[in-house]
């Protein structure tokens, strides 16, 4: 574009008139595709320089690039290292010396190999560091936390799964980082009451606190609940907290907006009531997979009283709870109006119970009744009748709902954006009705054996905003249906046509027009060949996940274009395909390829595999057949592991693919 203009104006460059601010504003809008900015910077030297100055966020592929890119981009504030599995202390010192006080946020959640001294340098040099994500740092010790504690301005800290950290480390952080507002300590199994208590005492500004799966008791909880600004408290799976200990807490936390006590097996109604007493601003309550004794909201008057006071409550999640008719009726009798309700996998949900809830809570926006297997058309009728504003309805495996009922959904809930009908009886008529939901962006139709191309053509015509479509094991679907989708839904980003056995290359050719396609899964589509895959590779530049397991007709000829065009490919599954050493080796030219699964590749030899593994520098996870473990030198794997690659060894015997109908029958058979 700029070249043309330059020619028009002769020697004069009109871009000289554009101030940097204006170009910056334009660049601000170039967000959707990271490659856009790349092309922009390639236009000319000044654009290159401007873009380099403008960029604030970096997500490098390898740590080896860091010195160069940090030199090119001087104003980086956010550094996302999730693609670099190896980040050594040397890299950290490069970062801390290059970024100094500009750097505000770093993400190490997927990186390993750095240690205390690197972190110390970072904390001391980058004075304005506000966010650090150290999740999954299972090797980090307390001394690393002492280093983090030097980052005095830290506001957000993620330490999920840092299993080697103890109270001492957390204590150092608590004393050092007084401005902390977001703290995640999930799965820090070495941290107990003392550490959490100290954080609560020292960091008064905390807004978000995740204490999931910590061995804590009410000892620290009393100081946690005294936090003046605490809005979000997550205590999933805290088994040490029980009713008796909660009963001691006289006052709840006034500022609390969201409370998650999922999987806390020892909290029942009375404990819950003492926990939420006083939290009048509570908006979201998650009690998923709670104690079997959590009879939720039944007669226990204290809890009922507490819940009555929660006038702002909007969202309740009761996934996997033993909820009864009475319980649902109590929810129905609340004077407030819920926006979000999740009853997924609640065994006690019946037509009557659900109806009593939905008829009262007419403002419901999101409803999850996944696996409520007892409900029938009656519930669907009530839901569609009263909750006209639903944007999300998830009802996987509601097998008693007959095919007629799905017509109601399309007729009455026009605002639906997300609809999960996996494993339901819906048919083409139902799909035709659903196609009236023009805002639909996420549609899951997996294992719906009654739908055919006809229904899908309606969806393609009506739901132009579709982003995700799941057609897993919809055996009747053929190329015609996919063509309609490809033509009608240009914004499609994810499609799953696994085990739609009639799909051929024609579908792939048509899907190649969906240029935003990021995830493509076509397991067991044995008619697909390398040709179809080539079309996808050429057309869908954004492709990042590809699963062509059991596509027997895809071979090396499909890999070469993939290697050339799909430069964003992160994850690929090639199991049971006809790809050989050469195809695999060619994939090495995809620099961001991280996960590969290569089981049962007949054409794969040990030496070819070794070459491919060595060539793919960015690999993080490889699923391989266990046999290769002994066929290749051990030191090769040591080397690859030192590069940051993990191996998963599989020893599964080849299974013969079943007909979809048989497959479902087998699924429904009760286990012997």
């Amino acid at each position: 574009m700029s070249k043309q203009k330059k020619e028009c104006f002769g020697g004069f460059n009109p871009f000289d008139l554009l101030s940097e601010e204006i170009i910056f504003m334009i660049l601000d809008l170039l967000n959707r595709n990271p490659l856009d900015k790349k092309s922009f910077s390639l236009v000319c030297k000044s654009f290159y320089a401007t873009e380099a100055k403008h960029r604030r966020t970096l997500k490098p592929l390898r740590q080896e690039h860091l010195p160069a890119i940090l030199c090119r981009y001087p104003n980086i504030t956010h550094l996302d290292l999730t693609l670099c599995s190896r980040v050594t202390d040397t890299s950290l010192s490069i970062i801390s010396n290059a970024c100094t006080s500009d750097l505000r946020s770093v993400d190490f959640s997927r990186s390993r190999l750095f240690s205390t001294s690197g972190l110390l340098g970072l904390a001391l040099n980058c004075k304005n560091l506000v966010e650090i994500d150290l999740s999954n740092g299972t090797e980090l010790k307390d001394s690393a936390m002492a280093a983090v504690a030097e980052a005095k301005n830290l506001e957000k800290l993620w330490l999920a799964r840092c299993k080697s950290i103890t109270d001492l480390g957390v204590g150092c952080v608590a004393v050092g980082c007084r401005k902390l507002r977001f703290v995640c300590l999930k799965w820090c199994l070495g941290v107990g009451d003392l550490g959490v208590g100290l954080i609560a005492v020292k960091c008064k500004q905390i807004v978000y606190l995740d204490l999931s799966y910590l061995p804590i008791t009410n000892k620290c909880l009393s100081s946690v609940l005294k936090l003046q600004h605490l809005e979000d408290l997550v205590m999933e799976g805290c088994f040490g907290i029980d009713d008796d200990s909660l009963a001691v807490l006289k006052h709840g936390c006034k500022s609390l907006k969201s409370l998650d006590v999922s999987t806390c097996q020892n909290i029942t109604d009375s404990g819950l009531s003492s926990l939420i007493s006083g939290a009048e601003g509570l908006q979201q309550l998650t009690l998923a997979h709670g104690s079997p004794h959590l009879v939720m909201l039944q007669v226990t008057s204290s809890l009922a009283d507490c819940l009555e006071k929660l006038s702002l409550l909007q969202s309740v999640k009761l996934d996997g709870c033993l909820i009864t008719y009475d319980g649902l009726k109590t929810i129905g009798n609340w004077c407030l109006s819920l926006r979000e309700l999740s009853l997924s996998k609640c065994l006690g949900v019946t037509d009557e119970g659900l109806s009593s809830v939905v008829t009262k809570h007419k403002d419901l926006r999101k409803l999850d009744i996944t696996c409520c297997r007892k409900i029938t058309n009656v519930s669907v009728a009530h839901i569609t009748n009263s909750c006209n504003f639903l944007t999300s309805l998830r009802m996987e495996s509601c097998t008693l709902v007959s095919r007629e009922a799905f017509g109601l959904i399309g007729q009455r809930c026009h605002l639906l954006e997300e609809l999960d009908l996996t494993d339901n009886e819906i048919d083409d008529q139902g799909l035709k009705s659903i196609s009236r939901c023009s805002k639909l962006s996420n549609l899951k139709l997996g294992i719906c054996l009654n739908i055919t191309d006809e229904g899908l053509i309606h969806i393609g015509r009506g739901c132009s905003k579709l982003i995700e479509l799941d057609l897993y094991r919809c055996a009747e679907i053929t190329d015609l249906g996919i063509l309609a989708i490809a033509q009608g839904c240009p914004g499609l980003e994810m499609i799953n046509i696994a085990y739609c056995k009639d799909i051929t290359d024609r579908s792939l050719l048509s899907l190649s027009k969906c240029s935003w396609l990021k995830t493509f899964e076509s397991r067991g589509c044995s008619l697909i060949t390398s040709l179809g895959l080539t079309a996808i590779a050429v057309g869908c530049k954004e492709l990042s996940k590809l699963d062509i397991k059991k596509c027997h007709n895809v071979d090396d000829a499909g890999m070469l274009p993939l290697a050339h065009f799909s430069q964003n490919l992160r994850q690929i599954n090639l199991s049971h395909s006809s790809v050989t050493d050469v195809g695999l080796l060619s994939l090495a030219s995809i620099s961001c390829l991280q996960n590969i699964t290569i089981l049962h590749l007949k054409g794969l030899t040990p030496s070819g595999l070794a070459a491919a593994l060595l060539a793919c520098g960015g690999l993080r996870k490889v699923k391989l057949q266990a046999a290769f473990r002994w066929l290749l030198p051990h030191r090769l794997f040591e080397h690859l592991e030192a590069r940051g690659c993990m191996f998963q060894w599989r020893d599964k015997v080849l299974q013969v693919e079943l007909d979809p109908k048989c497959w479902k029958l087998q699924l429904e058979d009760p286990m012997p």
Partner: protein, 508 residues
């Protein structure tokens, strides 16, 4: 005197053999362990003890032992003057306490300096700024320790000062003493910046001494308070108005005697209850019945009697009735424990760590229960036997933070180790020659080499252009650096090499 001579003789003998004193020191202690000896001859002894201790602490430093010997030599007359003048004013056990505190502090100093040395290693290659910051931190720590040292050292003085106030040598001696203690701290700094700060402290020293000499004892208290049993701490909060209670003061001999029966009126102790009862008769006829003995307070509740509180016989102690902020002790047991803990020799040494010493055997037993287990350390240097105590302390004090044990630092601070490891792995791979066919044949048995050959013979000819054996694996020697800088170009040659493919991709 006899003893003293023998001791000094022994000392002289020992010195050439063991230029570093610790050995002597321990022997010495064993000799004087028995706390029941209270006659004056033992009183002479502690100075030696004291100095041998200093020598112990300093023997580890690069200090010339001559200094100490000099001090000792000077101290001889001091002792004698002391003896001849007033023995009461001069309590060697208090001094001993102070000195052992000094010893602790010097150890801390040492650790700190070790830390500096350790950090220096790590710090290498970092910007000077960073080093300077760390040095500042360490300087701050050093200064605080030095201040503590000075104030405690000051508390050693009053005894000397009192007795020798007229004699000028005291100042000279003090100067020398300071000269021994402080430079040693500096010497440890080993070229790190804080030297100057330490120096300036010393120059200020003489002014602050008078103040700190009073406070010294108290400070000593505070530091060691966490070790003391609760009973003493608890009544810290008791606010009895002076005059509302009766003060009893037992003599130290009385306190240290192994009595178990005490008179509730005068506090006298007895070994046998019978003797106590006999004694009680002397207080009046009402105490003659055993019933009265059992409940002396109830009977007299009608007429308000004064509550009894106890005073410590040690002059200058906060628990002594003459102290400005006198805080009485509640019971005789409190007196006993207080006196032993604060004013007596710590003669019970922990058999596990051989460093902790106690004067009350119960304290030793409590300590031994936890000794050897995790020590919980605060950044201020205070140690705790229990983690929750440490956290309570940290919660209370601003800026204090848990100290991470050094060995852990060493363990994980080995980034270089880590890197070394991975490098090693890389090098290993580099040295593998990448001769897969041979490697495979050695490990995978029959299949291998045939397999590769088969690959080469493959009708599609896929393998011939790649030729794993000869082609490119030499290039993998470069692994320690980014294996493939940007795989696109680095692998292009391989692909272009595979001519059969360029044709195939032409199809697309």
């Amino acid at each position: 005197m006899d003893l003293k001579e023998r001791l000094s003789g022994e000392l002289q003998k020992k010195v050439p053999e063991h230029p570093s004193f610790p050995n002597f020191n321990t022997q010495h202690q064993q000799k004087w362990e028995d706390p029941s000896i209270l006659d004056y001859s033992t009183r002479i002894e502690p100075p030696f003890h004291v100095f041998s201790q200093t020598s112990q602490t300093q023997s580890s430093l690069p200090r010339n032992p001559n200094n100490q010997i000099k001090v000792r030599g000077q101290d001889g007359p001091v002792n004698e003057t002391l003896l001849s003048n007033k023995v009461q004013d001069w309590d060697p056990s208090a001094m001993l306490n102070n000195l052992s505190f000094l010893e602790q502090k010097i150890h801390q100093l040492q650790e700190l300096v070790h830390l500096i040395v350790g950090r220096r290693g790590q710090v290498l290659g970092r910007p000077d700024e960073l080093v300077a910051q760390q040095q500042q931190l360490i300087t701050a720590d050093l200064t605080s320790i030095i201040v503590q040292l000075i104030s405690t050292a000051g508390s050693l003085l009053p005894s000397v000062k009192h007795t020798l106030s007229a004699a000028s040598p005291s100042i000279g001696q003090f100067g020398q003493f300071g000269g021994v203690v402080f430079p040693s701290g500096q010497g440890q700094n080993g070229g790190v910046q804080p030297q100057s700060a330490g120096g300036s402290r010393i120059s200020e020293q003489p002014n602050s001494f008078d103040v700190s000499s009073n406070g010294g004892n108290e400070q000593n208290h505070i530091i060691e308070e966490h070790e003391l049993k609760d009973e003493e701490d608890v009544e810290e909060g008791e606010n009895l108005l002076p005059g509302t209670y009766e003060i009893l003061q037992l003599e130290k001999e009385e306190i240290l005697a192994p009595h178990t029966h005490f008179c509730t009126i005068c506090g006298k102790g007895f070994k046998r209850d019978a003797n106590l009862r006999m004694h009680m008769r002397g207080h009046g006829d009402e105490y003659k019945t055993p019933a009265a003995l059992a409940k002396p307070n109830k009977e007299s509740s009608s007429e308000p009697t004064l509550i009894k509180r106890y005073s410590c016989p040690y002059a200058g102690c906060k628990r002594n009735k003459d102290h400005k902020k006198f805080q009485p002790l509640k019971t005789i047991l409190c007196v006993k424990n207080h006196y032993k803990r604060t004013h007596c020799d710590k003669s019970y040494t922990c058999s596990r760590c051989n460093t902790k010493k106690f004067s009350v055997i119960a304290d030793l037993k409590t300590h031994e229960k936890h000794c050897g287990k995790d020590k919980w350390l605060c950044s201020c240097g205070t140690t705790f036997s229990r983690k929750d105590k440490l956290f309570g302390h940290i919660t209370l004090f601003q800026g204090h933070t848990p100290a991470i044990p050094l060995d852990e630092n060493k363990g994980s601070a080995g980034p270089s180790d880590h890197r070394g490891d991975s490098n090693q792995a890389i090098n290993k791979v580099g040295s593998m020659n990448f001769n897969f066919s041979s490697n495979v044949s050695s490990e995978g048995g029959v299949q291998s080499s045939v397999d590769v050959k088969g690959g080469i013979d493959d009708p599609a000819g896929y393998f011939s252009p790649l030729n794993f054996d000869t082609c490119n694996f030499g290039g993998f020697h470069e692994f320690p650096r980014p294996p493939f800088d940007d795989s696109e170009n680095s692998f292009a040659f391989l692909l272009s090499g595979s001519c059969s493919y360029s044709q195939k991709s032409g199809e697309d």
